[in-house]
C-alpha cells in the first residue's frame, strides 16, 4: 500500500488573494472526463496501471481508478512514486522527507498512466519517467494531469488534461484535495 501524506506544497496559501479556477464539482467532472478518455484511447489494449506522483497525484490516481471501476468492471492497479531522487533540480523539494514509492505490480509490457496535479515545466514528469524505467519496461507511458498551466521547459505533452489554465510565471497554482486539504478546488494566486 502507498502511504500518502501531505508533504508536497505543504504550506498553504493565505486565503483572500486566490481566485478559484475549479470548484469541487469542476474537479469531479474533470476527473470523470479524464477517466473516460483513458478508457476510450486505450480501448483495445490492456488495463492501465495508474501511477500517481506524491502527493496529490496519488489521490487523483485513486479517484480515477474508482471512476474506471464504476464505468468498467475492474479496478486498475494504483501505484505511487516520488521522483525526487531523479530530478535535475532537487532543491525544489529539498528539506522535505522523501515519500515512499510503490507500484504493486510489474509494469513490464503494461500501459502506465502517470497522474499528477499540475503540469508546469515538465521536469517532474521527466524525472518520473526515468524513475519508472527502473520498475520495468512499460509498453507505453501516458500522462494525465488535472491542470496544465503552460511554461514547459522540456518537450513533454500530456495525453489527458483536466483543465488548461494560462498563467504567468509569477502566479502559483494550488490544487486542494479533500484527502489532504479538506476540500476539492483549484486556486490561483500570486507567488510570494
Amino acid at each position: 500500500m502507498c502511504h500518502v501524506t501531505n508533504a508536497k506544497n505543504g504550506v498553504n496559501l493565505p486565503s483572500g488573494n486566490n481566485k478559484i479556477l475549479l470548484t469541487g464539482d469542476g474537479v469531479r467532472r474533470a476527473l470523470t472526463r479524464i477517466s473516460h478518455e483513458i478508457l476510450e484511447q486505450n480501448a483495445s489494449s490492456d488495463d492501465p496501471v495508474l501511477v500517481g506522483l506524491q502527493t496529490r497525484g496519488v489521490h487523483l490516481a485513486r479517484r480515477i481508478a474508482e471512476n474506471i471501476e464504476n464505468i468498467e468492471h475492474y479496478k486498475p492497479v494504483v501505484g505511487c512514486l516520488d521522483p525526487r531522487l531523479w530530478r535535475d533540480d532537487p532543491q525544489v523539494a529539498s528539506g522535505q522527507p522523501l515519500m515512499p514509492s510503490d507500484i504493486p505490480t510489474s509494469v513490464d509490457g503494461r500501459l502506465v498512466v502517470i497522474v499528477d496535479d499540475v503540469l508546469y515545466t515538465g521536469r517532474t514528469i521527466r524525472a518520473a519517467m526515468e524513475a519508472l524505467l527502473d520498475f520495468g519496461r512499460a509498453s507505453r507511458i501516458q500522462l494525465a494531469v488535472l491542470v496544465d498551466r503552460g511554461h514547459r521547459e522540456l518537450p513533454i505533452r500530456p495525453d489527458f488534461i483536466g483543465k488548461n489554465i494560462p498563467t504567468s510565471r509569477g502566479e502559483r497554482v494550488q490544487v486542494r484535495m479533500l484527502e489532504i486539504d479538506g476540500e476539492d478546488a483549484v486556486l490561483i494566486g500570486e507567488e510570494h
Binding site: 501531505n6 531522487l85 532543491q91 529539498s94 528539506g95 522527507p97
Partner: protein, 348 residues
C-alpha cells in the same frame, strides 16, 4: 511507515528548516526530534529503493564521498559505501593502515590532502572522541561521524530508532533496556540520547566498573545530567522486566584485560542475555545488537538468532538510514552550498 499525524504543515516547516541548515552529522545530541523524524521518514523511502531489482538513483551523481576508517569495521563502512553508490555518488574508501597515515602523516594533513581533491562528504571513524568535530572545523565538505572513540555513533542510533519504529510504531513511552559496557560504548551514549529525544524511556544495566563513576546503581539521573531521566538498574532482570527493546552491547575483550571484568564467563552468567532473561521482557519485545556479536558472552546464540532478534534487519536498515543522511547532507540545494555562500562555517 510514514505517520500521517507527524506530517502537518507546521511540522514540515520546522523540519524543512532543520534539514536545510545542516551540514555535518557529528552527534545525535544536536538533532531535534522533528529533524530525526524527517530522517526516519526519508529512510522509509530509501528502504524501498534498496529492495528494488534496480538499486540505483542519480540523486548524488557527480558527488564524491570518501570513507576514512581509522578503526576496523565491516557493516558501517560497507553500508556507507553501498548507500553512497545507490545514490549515484562516487565512493572512495581510505583505510588508515593502507594510507599515508601509516607513514606518520597528521590527521589534519591527511584531511587537507583529501579536501584538495574536491570531495563533497567525508565519512570518518576514529578511535579518538572528537576527531570528526576537529575535522569539520577544517574542511568545507560535509563530515559524517561513523563512530568516534567513546563519544558518538549517530547513524547507528538513527538506524536503531528506525528499526524499532518499523516494528512498534510510535517510540513514545517505549521502554528501552541497554545492557553492557556503558562507560566506553559510543553506541550506548548515542542510543540513550536518541531514544530519549523520541520520547522513549531508557534503562541501562552494567557492571559497576563499566558505568561512569557518578552513576549509582538503582538511581535515576537528573535532567541536567545530559542523559535525561536515565534509569540505572541494579540487575539485568530489573532492566529487562517489561522492556519493549532489549539491547546487549558487545563486550570488548580488552575490558577484561584492563581489570573491568573478573572473567567473561562471569559476565555472561550475570549480564549476558539468554532466553530466560529475554522472557522477562514484553512478549512483543525486540532484540537489537549493534554488532559484531560475541555469542556466548553478552548474548546467547539462541537469543541472537531467535524470533525476537532484528539484528539482520538493523544491518539492512543501516543502508537506508545512511542513504537518508548522505542525501540530506549532500544533495544539491540542501545545506552545503547555501552555507558556503553565506560564509558561515560553524553550523553543525
Amino acid at each position: 511507515m510514514a505517520q500521517q499525524s507527524t506530517l502537518s504543515p507546521s511540522y514540515l516547516e520546522q523540519n524543512m528548516i532543520g534539514l536545510q541548515t545542516r551540514r555535518h552529522l557529528l552527534d545525535v545530541d544536536d538533532l531535534g526530534a522533528s529533524e530525526i523524524s524527517g530522517l526516519l521518514d526519508t529512510a522509509e523511502g530509501m528502504l524501498e529503493i534498496t529492495a528494488r531489482d534496480v538499486r540505483k538513483t542519480p540523486a548524488l551523481r557527480g558527488k564524491t564521498i570518501i570513507t576514512m576508517f581509522f578503526e576496523n569495521s565491516t557493516r558501517t563502512r560497507v553500508s556507507f559505501e553501498q548507500a553512497g553508490k545507490i545514490l549515484g555518488a562516487d565512493v572512495i574508501n581510505v583505510t588508515a593502515s593502507a594510507s599515508s597515515v601509516s607513514k606518520g602523516e597528521s590527521l589534519l594533513n591527511t584531511v587537507k590532502t583529501l579536501e584538495a581533491m574536491q570531495i563533497d562528504a567525508l565519512v570518518v571513524r576514529h578511535p579518538h572522541s572528537g576527531a570528526p568535530y576537529f575535522i569539520s572545523n577544517h574542511i568545507d565538505a560535509s563530515v559524517v561521524n561513523a563512530g568516534d572513540g567513546t563519544h558518538a555513533h549517530p547513524t547507528q542510533s538513527i538506524l536503531d530508532l528506525f528499526t524499532v519504529r518499523a516494528h512498534l510504531g510510535n517510540l513514545s513511552g517505549k521502554r528501552i533496556a541497554i545492557i553492557g559496557d556503558i562507560l566506553y560504548s559510543r553506541v550506548a551514549r548515542s542510543d540513550i540520547i536518541a531514544f530519549q529525544k523520541m520520547g522513549a524511556e531508557v534503562v541501562v544495566c552494567s557492571p559497576n566498573t563499566l558505568l561512569p563513576d557518578e552513576w549509582e546503581l538503582g538511581s535515576t539521573l537528573a535532567l541536567e545530567s545530559g542523559f535525561g531521566r536515565l534509569q540505572i538498574a541494579k540487575s539485568v532482570e530489573e532492566a529487562v522486566d517489561g522492556a519493549d527493546v532489549v539491547m546487549p552491547l558487545r563486550i570488548q575483550k580488552e575490558r577484561q584485560d584492563a581489570g573491568h571484568l573478573p572473567s567473561l564467563r562471569e559476565y555472561s552468567a550475570r549480564w549476558g542475555i539468554d532466553s530466560q532473561k529475554m522472557a522477562l521482557a514484553n512478549d512483543s519485545a525486540l532484540l537489537l545488537h549493534p554488532g559484531p556479536m560475541n555469542e556466548g558472552v553478552e548474548i546467547s546464540s539462541e537469543v541472537a538468532h531467535g524470533s525476537q532478534s532484528v539484528v539482520e534487519e538493523q544491518v539492512r536498515n543501516g543502508v537506508a538510514v545512511r542513504m537518508a543522511v548522505l542525501y540530506t547532507l549532500c544533495a544539491p540545494g540542501n545545506s552545503v552550498s547555501a552555507i558556503r555562500n553565506d560564509g558561515n562555517s560553524e553550523i553543525k
